[in-house]
């Protein structure tokens, strides 16, 4: 990476307090395009909080988050390259699949909305149900639509919050392939998970959070078993 280029994601001295509780402290890191970062740590380590700060959903108490040089909390434009896939799907049950995607596309100010929506529906295998209200969708359909909504605007930085939790094996495999495709297309992925095995082969970097502080930040080691041993030692109090 050319050092004079603006990094895709740069976090400077991020701190997030909830009253007296400090959820994140002194977090600073940089993520470049093409990286697939695993964000690991025990429960309550601050992983989801960090992700929400990056996405602009939570304001830091100190420090800042910059996407392509723009402050995510001060500049709405900074959020343009971001996409978030979390437990919630951000869908409206009273609208159809097509209407939901249309809304998301127009919200992001995309060109050729109709074409992109149709393409996304096709990729999600939902074209035949495009005009049905989301209300009647099965779990699997909801997940596919949620992924479509999150990636519709081709986000350069895709944020994932424990995406494999509710997925069955087929859906998990499909998501893994999707993430690999994003990496190959030169996008960056940051994935919060408490089970590193899910994305181990695809990941390029591992960051471990504990008690709101980054305790490890290294390229993904080749051997998961070895890593686990070290990891358990790292996070056990």
């Amino acid at each position: 990476m050319n050092p004079s280029e603006t990094p895709l994601l740069a976090i400077h001295g991020l701190e997030r307090r909830f009253g007296a509780l400090v959820a994140l402290r002194g977090v600073s890191l940089v993520v470049a395009p093409g990286e697939v970062v695993l964000l690991l740590g025990p429960n309550g380590a601050g992983k989801s909080t960090l992700l929400r700060c990056i996405a602009g959903l939570a304001r830091p108490s100190k420090g800042r988050v910059e996407v392509s040089g723009r402050n995510v909390h001060a500049d709405p434009e900074a959020r343009r390259p971001l996409g978030l896939l979390s437990h919630q799907s951000f869908l409206y049950e009273d609208l159809t699949a097509r209407e939901n995607l249309r809304f998301a596309a127009e919200l992001h100010g995309l060109d050729s909305v109709a074409t992109r929506v149709e393409q996304a529906l096709a990729d999600a295998r939902l074209t035949s149900r495009a005009d049905t209200r989301v209300f009647g969708f099965s779990q699997g359909m909801l997940q596919r639509l949620a992924i479509a909504r999150a990636t519709l605007h081709d986000p350069a930085l895709l944020l994932l919050d424990e995406p494999f939790t509710a997925l069955d094996a087929a859906a998990a495999r499909s998501l893994r392939e999707r993430i690999a495709a994003e990496r190959d297309a030169g996008r960056a992925v940051v994935c919060v998970t408490h089970e590193p095995a899910e994305l181990w082969e695809i990941a390029s970097r591992v960051i471990v959070l504990r008690g709101g502080v980054v305790v490890a930040d290294e390229p993904r080691p080749p051997d998961l078993g070895e890593f686990r041993a070290g990891y358990d030692a790292l996070v056990t109090p």
Binding site: P76, A104, L107
Partner: protein, 225 residues
């Protein structure tokens, strides 16, 4: 993409959802009609004429049914955390506020449009051009009220007793505009000339400007974590 365009996008989405399910519209309208009827049955037909009560009842009805209507804006965003989908997008918070406000204003206006003729009918109000002025006052008052309601409902929706809390928060803020609006209505129905009402119009305008500004300034703090 301009703030207005995003706002209209959000408002259109809200109204499309409302058209799909119509629950909120039915409930708010039915509630308004029930308020009209409650007063008819709660007074002594012999001693108090409906026409005397008409201006007060109009404003009580508008105030109470606005409260029912305002909860709609953010409860529809609760499921699947849809609001966060908007907060994630590269659009300013002010566009979200404006969009919700416009949707609220459209919705409240719709409820009033349906209720107004029933009020005229049930309370024996004479149909004169003055009624246009009454409608205009209603619109003027709604502007400020919906702006405040947009902010307060965004807060109330995150609490356990949203439906109970919103009226408790909002009604004290509604008393001043209700007073001046009711005053204007009394005078308008009595056929008083318009220039007697400038004081009330000025008050309502000032109220709208002050609270629309405050609401726009404070809204981002409410939705940002």
């Amino acid at each position: 993409m301009s703030v207005l365009r995003v706002a209209l996008l959000i408002a259109a989405k809200d109204l499309r959802i409302e058209r799909r399910s119509r629950t909120a519209l039915h409930t708010a309208t039915l509630f308004a009609v029930l308020v009209l009827l409650t007063v008819v049955f709660a007074r002594d037909g012999g001693s108090v004429s409906l026409l005397t009560l008409a201006p007060s009842v109009l404003w009580i009805t508008i105030a109470l049914s606005s409260l029912v209507a305002l909860n709609r804006a953010f409860t529809l965003e609760r499921e699947h955390a849809a609001l966060e989908g908007i907060l994630l997008a590269p659009v300013p918070r002010s566009a979200l506020f404006l969009g919700k406000w416009l949707a609220n204003l459209a919705f409240v206006s719709l409820v009033m449009t349906i209720t107004f003729p029933l009020w005229i009918l049930f309370y024996g109000v004479a149909v004169t051009p003055a009624l246009f002025a009454v409608a205009a006052v209603a619109l003027l008052a709604s502007i400020g009220v919906t702006a405040i309601g947009t902010v307060f409902s965004a807060m109330a929706v995150r609490t356990r007793h949203a439906e109970l809390l919103l009226p408790v928060l909002m009604l004290p803020f509604l008393l001043p505009p209700i007073f001046f609006a009711a005053q204007s209505t009394v005078r308008l129905l009595a056929g008083r000339p318009l220039d007697e009402l400038w004081g009330s119009f000025r008050f309502l305008l000032l109220y709208d400007v002050a609270f629309a500004t405050m609401a726009a300034l404070l809204f981002p703090a409410v939705v940002d974590e």
